[in-house]
């Protein structure tokens, strides 16, 4: 199966450069962001402030809905107690201890509205001239928006649009906007809570320690009824466990720090069944608008055929729900909130290809896999498999 997947990617790359060739299918529905090297070095020679505050400055990307910085230190350690304070556009503040920044760097949380003011505080200690905080790179969302397999017009709707029923809106609470960086690339996907601290998404989104370390799962990333962009809390990944990943089912589960399920609830995979009838909903961070805030596909959204082959034989169903880049890892739910599957593939509209429908991994396969791996991993660690 992995060979077939690789072939498909190469095919997609070749097709992208041929203007007159039939549009090739695009499998993974993850969106990519922009990563820019900056290499801004802040050291003793950078001083522009008084006393304990070594330096203040601002980093901004015009019109970007968010920004992330890769921060690292160089040279001898900063004096004890040194930190960098991040002042965000929503008047939030977070302090990062410089001593705790990993040498390879730390990607900050999403910094709202593409701007952040920084203050490097070194306390009363003497700063070695060779010590430096480096703003290595920054990342922000790209502007590309590609609707996949839209039936009729693209009818993805903002989660707080008045046309969206309250019960659907409520189902969306455990759905998070995922940003991660790996291999020098920025990825954007959707994920959702399946336990107090367990986040499910696609394997093609999170599949390594690196992508886990940089993962920021933002809940409540929505445009409200007042039209304002709002951010809920962001959660970081507690660690990547390859046992909680299935390539064939294109699914990964990672643990998040601080138990977001206490705040946002969960979607229970145990509700999955092979009943694939009726209207469905895909709650997603798809990029119907440039900010990729939380949206839902409700209109003309149903499961079309099952089972069909996905990464594994008979692993998938096709569905008619509108999606776009960034929908990878979104839950496919019936209107009662039962888990029906995990969206993972989308395709550009193209009648000449057999791949003309969006794809989700069947819910029961996910349910059974998750129960098994949780039992295995939890029991091996002496835990209780019944309480993920």
């Amino acid at each position: 199966m992995r060979q077939a997947f690789t072939f498909a990617l190469l095919f997609a790359a070749a097709g992208a450069s041929a203007q007159d060739a039939p549009t090739a299918p695009e499998l993974e529905a993850l969106a990519t962001g922009v990563v820019e090297a900056r290499d801004i070095r802040i050291d003793a020679a950078s001083r522009n402030s008084d006393g304990a505050v070594l330096w203040t400055g601002e980093v901004a990307v015009a019109e970007a809905p968010w920004l992330r910085l890769l921060l690292r230190t160089e040279g001898p350690p900063f004096p004890e107690g040194s930190f960098v304070a991040l002042f965000t556009a929503d008047d939030g503040r977070s302090d990062l201890a410089l001593a705790e920044l990993p040498r390879e760097g730390y990607w900050t949380d999403l910094l709202p509205n593409g701007r952040v003011r920084l203050a490097v505080v070194t306390g009363d200690g003497t700063l070695d001239p060779a010590s430096a905080l480096v703003i290595d790179s920054l990342s922000y969302p790209g502007q590309e928006i590609a609707a996949y397999s839209a039936h009729g017009g693209n009818q993805i709707t903002g989660i707080n649009d008045p046309s969206v029923p309250e019960e659907i809106r409520r189902l969306g609470r455990p759905v998070a906007y995922l940003s991660f960086l790996a291999g020098g690339r920025s990825g954007i996907c959707t994920g959702f809570l399946v336990g107090r601290d367990l986040l499910m998404t696609n394997e093609h989104c999170i599949n390594s320690d690196e992508s886990c370390r940089s993962l920021s799962a933002t809940f409540g990333y929505e445009v409200g009824v007042d039209g304002k962009l709002s951010y809920g809390r962001q959660y970081r990944c507690a660690g990547y466990d390859p046992r909680l990943t299935s390539f064939d089912l294109d699914v990964t589960v990672v643990r998040l720090k601080d138990g977001p399920g206490d705040v946002y609830g969960m979607i229970d995979p145990a509700t999955a069944s092979d009943d694939l009838t009726g209207p469905m909903a895909v709650i997603q961070h798809s990029g119907h608008n440039a900010t990729r805030t939380k949206e839902v596909s409700l209109v003309d959204c149903a499961i079309a055929a099952a089972p069909v082959n996905g990464r594994a034989v008979d692993s998938d169903f096709t569905h008619t729900c509108d999606t776009a880049k960034g929908t990878s890892g979104a839950p496919v739910l019936d209107l009662a909130g039962h888990f029906r599957g995990l969206h993972h593939f989308g395709f550009r509209d193209d009648d000449s290809d057999i791949w003309t429908e969006n794809r989700g991994v069947r819910g029961p396969l996910i349910r059974d896999w998750l129960a098994a791996v949780l039992a295995e991993t939890t029991l091996s660690e002496g835990g209780d498999a019944t309480h993920p």
């Binding site: 801004i40 019109e63 503040r93 304002k228």
Partner: protein, 722 residues
């Protein structure tokens, strides 16, 4: 009189080798609240406060009818609708030979309030045994009245036509009657049919200078000494009125004697007057040198040539309360060093007042919220001369705060901006500061919204911090709309005095354009931030308000000096924009970055006179009596042009190119300021021997200075011709 002026008294006294006067003697200005119904209480509490701290100045006076109240009114040391018991008790204690009263010790809680007891005793009526012609001791102060404007809840049934100003009100500073002032400051508002919740009205306040005893224990005195402010020159008559402080010690209760010796009399007096601001008036006429952090602002003031650079106060023609609309993130609370700010709906954001924190001088670099940004912009413009913190470029400016949400999508931000512009600004608003930049997706009508203010409001736009070199037609709004006559775009500069460059940091830099208008320092500008703190702020957001405040000063000066002949006529925003541009300091290092140079406030606000600097170093300021109607400019030979002198706004020598830079209004009509302001960067002056005569004034003396045209190194025209 300000605290700083009082330093002169101190030095004069020190020459008499009296050890006590080595400590500065402070003189505060006290001012009543302006409410007639509380004036008697305010004055009584002022005297009681001074008496209790040992700072009451007294003199002897002769009764006329046997009543001390009559004497006090005749002597001009008391006003008000009744005679408070506190004042009667105080006078009784001052005249114990002819008066006695029940001395009941004040409660411990009352002792903490300098205005709530008299020498440690409860206020009680005196039993006087006096007769006409008897000499008694009374307070020794001289009161003046001033008329000012204040925002107050609208009286019931208020209309501008029916309102009766206070009888003592004197509105001559506004060059109109008080009824006209009321009409001007309370215009009808578009789409507002309901009565306004508050209105701007003239009030009469009583003010007097209050000398305090030299006080070695005073922290306030120490702080003033630490500012290093140079004392002003002694008064010409060399005399200082002797202050005779009352010696009331024998009238103090034992509890009060015990308590009072533990405190600095000066500091407790100032604290008492400040804390009880509402009931007893306010201390508000400080000089710029009284600001604890003013010394740290001097480098900025020097760069932009503000009078405050010499710690000099602004002259009276700059005291008109010009309104500045500021579009900024929402501020929830006032600041101890900012004036009361208004919102468009008439609500106010007042300084903390009774909860005013001690000090009001804490610098905190970790002040980086959007609200800090907003407070910072306000402070650059109008931080108060109040003995606290810093001073803004125009402390007399009135701030009207328009909430602006930087976190909204770009087009919504602009839609809000357009809506506010369409609704219009309050009458007093002549300048709007927009330290913001937005790239719209669609045309939201911003250009039209700015243009409709063309006759009334100068829009000051920050160039933005992306470090971009921009061209005409660029997309950042409102900065790129500065082709409009009433939009002036400000780039940020570094703090290099002699060779400034666009400000640039490790992460940001000022946008520039040869078509942007003017520059101002954008690095480490010390200003106010939230929670009564101060911080150094960086970016074009803090350069723009320097220009906005400077513009308000030009409006004030221009309309005061030239507004006599046409009542109600206002200075056009274009005239102010042009004035700021052609009075700037020009530097070769800014060529291609901005169309003029660095803001020069001193040159801009000297609106009345022509300003010359000659190659021989002379500086001549006055009225031009004679100059060539035209002069030759350009390469020698037949291609030279002949600028019309009356349309020249600036002629300044470029040391590098050995030619003059010329700014002129491009019109055939002499003296017309409505024409387009043009710049000729290479004027080789070829009119050498033509005489120039300038009438200069020095007090009552006037004289005519003569020189040749070739002597001119730098000429700046007056704002308008005489």
């Amino acid at each position: 009189m300000s605290i700083r002026n009082a330093l002169a008294l101190t030095l004069l006294a020190a020459t008499a080798a009296q050890a006590e006067e080595q400590v500065p003697q402070l003189v505060l200005d006290w001012q009543s609240s302006g409410r007639e119904e509380t004036l008697a209480t305010e004055i009584a509490r002022l005297y009681v406060t001074l008496h209790n701290s040992g700072n009451l100045a007294v003199r002897q006076a002769q009764l006329t009818d046997g009543f001390v109240e009559t004497l006090l009114r005749e002597a001009g040391v008391f006003r008000g609708s009744y005679f408070p018991v506190e004042l009667d008790a105080l006078l009784c204690d001052l005249n114990s030979a002819v008066c006695s009263r029940d001395l009941r010790p004040a409660a411990a809680a009352d002792l903490a309030d300098l205005g709530a007891h008299v020498g440690g005793y409860q206020p009680t009526r005196g039993r006087w045994k006096v007769q006409a012609d008897q000499v008694v001791t009374i307070p020794d102060y001289s009161f003046d009245s001033i008329t000012s404007l204040t925002r107050v809840p609208a009286p019931a049934g208020f209309t501008t036509a029916s309102y009766q100003p206070p009888a003592d009100a004197d509105c001559t500073p506004w060059k109109m009657s008080c009824a006209e002032v009321v009409a001007r400051f309370n215009p009808p508002q578009i789409r507002m049919t309901a009565s306004p919740p508050s209105v701007t009205l003239p009030i009469v306040q009583w003010t007097t200078a209050i000398p305090l005893r030299p006080d070695e224990a005073s922290k306030l005195s120490s702080r003033i000494l630490q500012t290093g402010a140079p004392p002003p020159a002694p008064a010409p008559d060399g005399g200082v009125k002797a202050v005779n402080f009352a010696v009331p010690d024998t009238a103090y209760s034992s509890d009060w004697k015990t308590l009072s010796v533990k405190q600095s009399p000066t500091d407790v007096t100032v604290d008492a007057l400040r804390r009880t601001l509402a009931p007893i008036g306010t201390i508000n006429r400080f000089g710029v040198a009284d600001e604890p952090l003013a010394g740290e602002q001097v480098p900025l003031f020097e760069l932009i040539n503000h009078p405050f650079a010499q710690l000099q106060d602004l002259p009276p023609e700059l005291h008109s309360p010009v309104g500045i609309a500021v579009f900024e993130s929402r501020l929830e609370n006032g600041h101890c060093d900012l004036p009361t700010m208004e919102r468009p709906d008439g609500t106010e954001i007042a300084p903390p007042g009774a909860t005013d924190p001690d000090g009001c001088d804490q610098v905190d670099a970790l002040s980086e919220t959007d609200a800090d940004h907003a407070a910072g912009v306000m402070g650059v413009i109008a931080s108060q001369e109040n003995g606290k913190g810093i001073v803004g470029i125009n402390p007399e400016a009135r701030l009207v705060l328009y909430d602006y949400d930087r976190d909204d999508p770009a087009d919504r931000q602009l839609a809000d901006l357009v809506r506010n512009m369409q609704i219009g600004f309050p009458e007093e608003v002549r300048v709007a500061n927009l330290s913001l930049g937005v790239r719209p997706i669609v045309d939201t009508g911003v250009r039209n919204a700015l243009d409709i203010q063309r006759a009334r409001v100068l829009i000051v736009a920050a160039a933005g911090n992306e470090g971009l070199g921009l061209s005409p037609g660029c997309a950042i709004l409102p900065a790129c709309l500065n082709d409009l006559d009433n939009v002036i775009t400000v780039i940020g500069l570094n703090t290099d005095g002699a060779d400034p460059a666009p400000w640039r940091s490790q992460t940001q830099g000022s946008n520039t354009s040869p078509f942007f208008d003017i520059g101002a320092p954008a690095e480490a500008v010390l200003t106010t931030v939230t929670h009564n703190r101060f911080a150094r702020k960086t970016g074009t957001s803090f350069a723009a308000p320097q220009v906005a405040a400077a513009a308000s000063l030009v409006f004030s000066a221009g309309e005061t000096v030239f507004g006599d002949n046409a009542e109600g006529a206002q200075l056009s925003p274009k005239a102010v924009k042009d004035r700021l541009i052609y009075t700037a300091d020009f530097f070769p290092s800014l060529n291609g970055k901005v169309r003029s140079g660095r803001l020069n406030i001193g040159r801009a606000i000297a609106v009345a006179d022509a300003q010359f600097t000659l190659f021989d170093g002379r500086s001549i300021v006055g009225q031009v009596l004679d100059a060539p109607v035209q002069f030759a400019c350009g390469p020698r030979g037949p291609s030279r042009t002949f600028p019309t002198w009356a349309n020249v706004r600036r002629l300044v020598f470029n040391q590098v190119r050995r030619q003059h830079i010329l700014y002129f209004h491009d019109t055939q009509e002499q003296g017309n300021r409505d024409a387009s302001l043009k710049r000729d960067p290479g004027c080789l002056v070829a009119t050498d021997s033509a005489p120039v005569k300038v009438l200069t004034r020095d007090g009552s003396e006037s004289r005519v200075e003569e020189f040749t045209f070739a002597d001119i190194r730098d000429y700046t025209s007056p704002l308008f011709d005489e």
